[in-house]
Symmetry: C2
């Protein structure tokens, strides 16, 4: 028997990724837009998101043979700080245009959490260009860092790349703490050191440029460069700091890592494991189950079967559902 249909969405820096599935049968069809949703004066633009999403959702329903969508879950990067217009307009639009009964809007940190750990208490470190830690004891959410490349994101891709470039230029200047290996790698990637400022500062995507050097720091560390190893260890400590700040104090919480930064290699992952075991000895280190899109799917499926147990949060996770609906229990849990 097939349960009600659902739509699960992950909106991030590389565009929309969309799944249509059915309760009990899991994902049935997938698509990706490749175009990031526009952010304007009102934050994430709900019209632009809808313009991309509606045709994708209808095509996927046809492809999957799903006649009616019951539930939509949209996870989006920037939801917490730039999601005001989305929260104000998207649920009604999706109910009107797609006939869904329930809409959940989630910050990408929440979908990353659920994708990695599922609906159990713990903490997740989500690291790509930036870094944020999110945790829950199933009564409320806590966040740490995620402040961007100048104010924090300590231990993330831009942080590691920046620290590596600084060490490269220390070697160039003859200052202490430099690494000739990182300097050679930076000049191989970006050209002569003297031209580095001119190639970095005029760009709008400075954090991405810095993060693009993080894998080189990983390579130098894997090759035994002590300065590069120290950069990775400092990053791992920062990650453990953030995880410890959001991890539930009681019980035996699960701790996981997720995000593109961990594709960098075994050295970083090993150092993070070491630092986590020092800082959170009572936590169980869990390998992430899936990515943020998987988290959105998981939330949709749990809403449909009425087993949704995650806490709501004005900025991080909000549900729109009809009163007296099957989802009442979930809706109660969310507000």
């Amino acid at each position: 028997m097939t349960g009600p249909g659902y739509l699960a969405v992950d909106s991030g820096g590389s565009g929309l990724r969309v799944v249509v599935g059915a309760g009990g049968r899991g994902p049935l069809a997938r698509a990706a837009s490749g175009e990031p949703v526009r952010t304007g004066a009102r934050g994430i633009d709900p019209d632009d998101l809808l313009e991309q999403l509606l045709p994708m959702a209808r095509a996927l329903c046809a492809e999957a043979g799903v006649g009616r969508l019951d539930t939509a879950v949209v996870g989006a990067a920037g939801m917490a700080s730039l999601g005001g217009a989305l929260r104000a307009e998207l649920p009604a639009s999706l109910i009107r245009e797609l006939g869904v009964r329930r809409v959940a809007l989630a910050a990408d940190a929440v979908t990353a959490y659920v994708g990695a750990l599922g609906p159990r208490p713990g903490a997740v470190i989500a690291a790509g260009t930036g870094l944020i830690a999110i945790g829950t004891d199933l009564t409320r959410w806590r966040r740490a860092d995620g402040w961007g490349h100048l104010l924090g994101d300590c231990g993330g891709g831009a942080w590691i790349g920046r620290a590596g470039m600084e060490a490269a230029l220390r070697a160039h200047d003859g200052r202490e703490g430099g690494s000739a290996r990182l300097l050679a790698s930076a000049e191989d990637m970006f050209g002569p050191a003297a031209g580095l400022p001119g190639r970095l500062y005029p760009r709008a995507d400075r954090p991405a440029v810095l993060a693009s050097f993080a894998p080189r720091v990983g390579e130098c560390a894997a090759g035994g460069d002590p300065v590069a190893v120290a950069v990775l260890r400092a990053a791992a400590r920062h990650m453990a700091d953030s995880a410890a700040a959001v991890c539930p104090a009681e019980g035996e919480p699960a701790v996981g890592v997720t995000g593109g930064l961990f594709r960098m290699g075994a050295d970083l992952t090993g150092l993070v494991d070491e630092e986590l075991s020092k800082r959170l000895p009572r936590a169980r280190r869990i390998t992430a189950e899936g990515d943020p899109l998987h988290g959105a799917v998981r939330i949709a499926e749990d809403l449909i079967i009425g087993s949704f147990t995650l806490p709501g949060d004005a900025a991080l996770l909000s549900l729109t559902a009809p009163e007296g609906d099957d989802a009442a229990r979930a809706a109660d849990a969310l507000t």
Copy 2:
């Protein structure tokens, strides 16, 4: 007896500062433009600089009763990396428009050095929003750092302010290494922490915004906040690293500090003294004689009396003078 007249210029972030003086009598008249020279696709714009400078120079000559200018010295921020068009055009323009015989173009790091220490061997740390160290053994110049707020400028105003804001947000998140006092100070200055990214990242003058928090870090340190003290000590260590990289290895070099950052207070200066005495025990710590404009004046006076002994450098210090001129000795020293 009055020697030949000279023009000395300091071009920086707050505009042009200009002195007209005469050999043996020192500065006779001063003015400031208050408008920074434009930087365009060709780097520092020589036409914009001339348009500001020529009327100021003529008015100051009239005020000072200097009939003829013999020598012009222009020190400019950005000369090393963005001074190509200045070096190509400014000397001929000043010779043609003002009738000078000699033109010296200097990076602001060089005028800062000469302003602080005069023409003797040593090292100078110049710190404002950014940070650069410059040193000479009187045969060549060496520089360290000055790479900008993402790649270095370690220990400068933006660096200290950024580290202070990071510590404030650590306290906000409940991460290790935070300071509730820095958090209170940051929220007093910029408003609630949650709004900080939105107030910083969209601005073009991010380094200046970060640096504007450095005096608050100084205040918290003066009040005994251990995290703020640690930020200042780390800054002082970075400064000592940079000074050590450029300081002559032989003799008993002079070491000085200069720039707006040191108006922050006695704590920073004291920590820098401590770190310098550890890293450069053979150097004599000298109180800066004057600022970069004083350095430009000093270079002009030394050129006029033929006692100029500083080494030339394609990017840092270049002289244009007629062959066989009194300044031949200086010109030889410069190339």
